[in-house]
Symmetry: C2
Subunit: 341 residues, 2 copies
């Protein structure tokens, strides 16, 4: 079954393409009669406008691009969910690409989306990102662009973030309030802003409580995996037998820590109190349940798209858009892994 076109409708009805087009878009200047005839036939032939032609004509595709490090992450998939939902509500579709935490791939994905001429781009940087040329290219081309979660402060675009430093401070403060005296930190990789900020929050919390900072208590993830959690837990307990608290960059790694401790008779939270970050679903079904910092993934997706939409509208109307930064609230979720009563 061939796709119907305006031309076909026009021909079978013996009228002009223009009139058909107008009738279908309910322009006021079409007679009731012709309009009805057109609509009836269009329905019968299951007419749908050829989006390729519409795209070309209107110079927009009602499609946005989304680049994230990994879909298979509870946190990111929550964001994706929010973005898709909000986009769809506003008539946009979403093309998703993954950077797999690789800068090289990230650059390629950006190029793909630029070639595709998406109406806007949403992006969470990969851990590897320390080079901004590809992002600058997006801005150069004046493609509406919003960063979320893992952002670069140097890029002058809109951003949707949380206050990582504050959240980390609260998490560490909580450990201190539970009586922890010697707190280790398993941090994220060197580049990403949020790993840096969480580390700074950790340091500040110590400082505020007059606990001396000891750099040997800071362990740096390379790939932020469950396995690293296992390995660092082993290393920490070996190197610092008196560590009584660990603040971990993210739940997946923290779950590795819990697992190691469970398997090695280290009592959580009595011997070591643990708190993670992100509130993955998994955290609540662990034994003990993992304390964590909740960050609103779905809302972050919604917020990111909402800002992007504003920018896309300005872009279309030729209005200058002033980048904005939205900071979403986080909250400490205290569970068994850190609650000493």
């Amino acid at each position: 079954m061939k796709n119907t076109t305006l031309k076909e409708i026009a021909e079978t009805l013996g009228i002009s393409i223009t009139t058909v087009s107008k009738a279908l878009k309910s322009y006021p200047d079409v007679s009731e009669k012709t309009r009805n005839a057109v609509i009836a036939l269009a329905e019968k032939l299951q007419y749908t406008p050829n989006s390729f032609a519409v795209n070309l004509r209107t110079k927009e595709s009602k499609t946005i691009g989304l680049i994230i490090p990994e879909v298979v992450h509870h946190f990111f998939s929550g964001i994706v969910n929010g973005i898709i939902a909000e986009a769809e509500k506003n008539g946009y579709l979403v093309i998703i690409l993954q950077s797999n935490e690789s800068l090289e791939l990230e650059k390629k994905q950006v190029a793909l989306l630029i070639n595709k001429r998406v109406d806007g781009i949403l992006m969470a940087l990969s851990n590897d990102s320390n080079d901004d040329d590809h992002i600058k290219e997006i801005l150069n081309r004046k493609i509406p662009f919003v960063q979320f979660d893992k952002i670069s402060k140097l890029i002058p675009s809109s951003k949707v973030i949380i206050n990582d430093q504050k959240a980390a401070m609260e998490a560490v403060q909580h450990l201190i309030d539970q009586g922890c005296k010697k707190i280790a930190h398993i941090r994220g990789p060197v580049n990403p802003q949020n790993a840096i900020d969480r580390f700074l929050g950790y340091k500040k919390a110590l400082e505020k409580n007059d606990i001396p900072y000891d750099s040997s208590l800071v362990y740096t993830c390379k790939n932020v995996t469950f396995e690293e959690g296992l390995a660092f837990a082993e290393q920490i307990t070996r190197e610092h037998s008196d560590v009584d608290g660990i603040f971990v960059i993210t739940d997946l790694v923290a779950v590795g820590v819990l697992t190691y401790c469970n398997q090695n008779n280290i009592k959580i939270p009595q011997d070591i109190a643990v708190i993670g970050f992100s509130n993955w679903f998994m955290s609540q079904v662990m034994t003990p349940q993992l304390s964590t910092v909740d960050q609103p993934s779905y809302d972050m997706g919604v917020a990111a798209f909402t800002i992007l939409l504003e920018e896309m509208i300005c872009h279309k109307d030729g209005v200058i858009f002033k980048p904005k930064t939205v900071e979403l609230p986080t909250s400490i979720i205290v569970r068994g892994s850190s609650l000493r009563n």
Copy 2:
């Protein structure tokens, strides 16, 4: 910065658009000299073909649509991963839509993709799906189409599946081998084929071992959630205090069962042995670790796209494509929740 067009290149070089086009696509019939000039200028102006125009002209967008029930599922996000990766490798981008397990939404998403004129559609049915009109529409329009995971047998399209019945049989057989005499089944909703097949596998395994089938031991999920796992575990132990094994439709629900048992001093696997399905990441970090059936999500994504690609190529060449069904292997993963030594 405006986007460069062929016309602009042609004008500044004082040659025709046609020649420019040919030069850039390395047609043989362009002189070395002009070709070089064109390529140089194109590079300098950062020319990228306007994909909208290319789409219109070639009638394909190198974009496919993907409809799944939920991204925030370890299994589905694995599939998504495989699809995106394989698609990209072949020059295709992927638009993702979610049905949220709702038939109504699913229909809407199909309509969106049809309007968008994607080159092909990949789809896992929602649990709610019992009506095929929207799928028939895809086939009517001759849009290349592949079903995966949750499929409808009635739809004559390619399919990528596992042998749910066989896998379920093996899972239940494993429980029996561990000495379980009275095995309950928490099954999925009524419609989806895989829920039906897993149920049938459960029944067959009982039959094969001369264990009488008791319909009161079968509990049916509505939404397949963690909470249902909790609730059914309570109900099962209340209604059948002698149940000593449970085969659960999927890991998320099984984790609910484990959690309930852990909280209520029911010993796993001694009192009740539990086996899930799908091998979510979470399963290996539970206490005890959850036995499960591994199904290859990434591979399923790759296989689905691969078949779709074949069909898209046939479609383009006007060749008839004969739908094929690929069945991927599964394997039982025995862990602490079912291993009685």
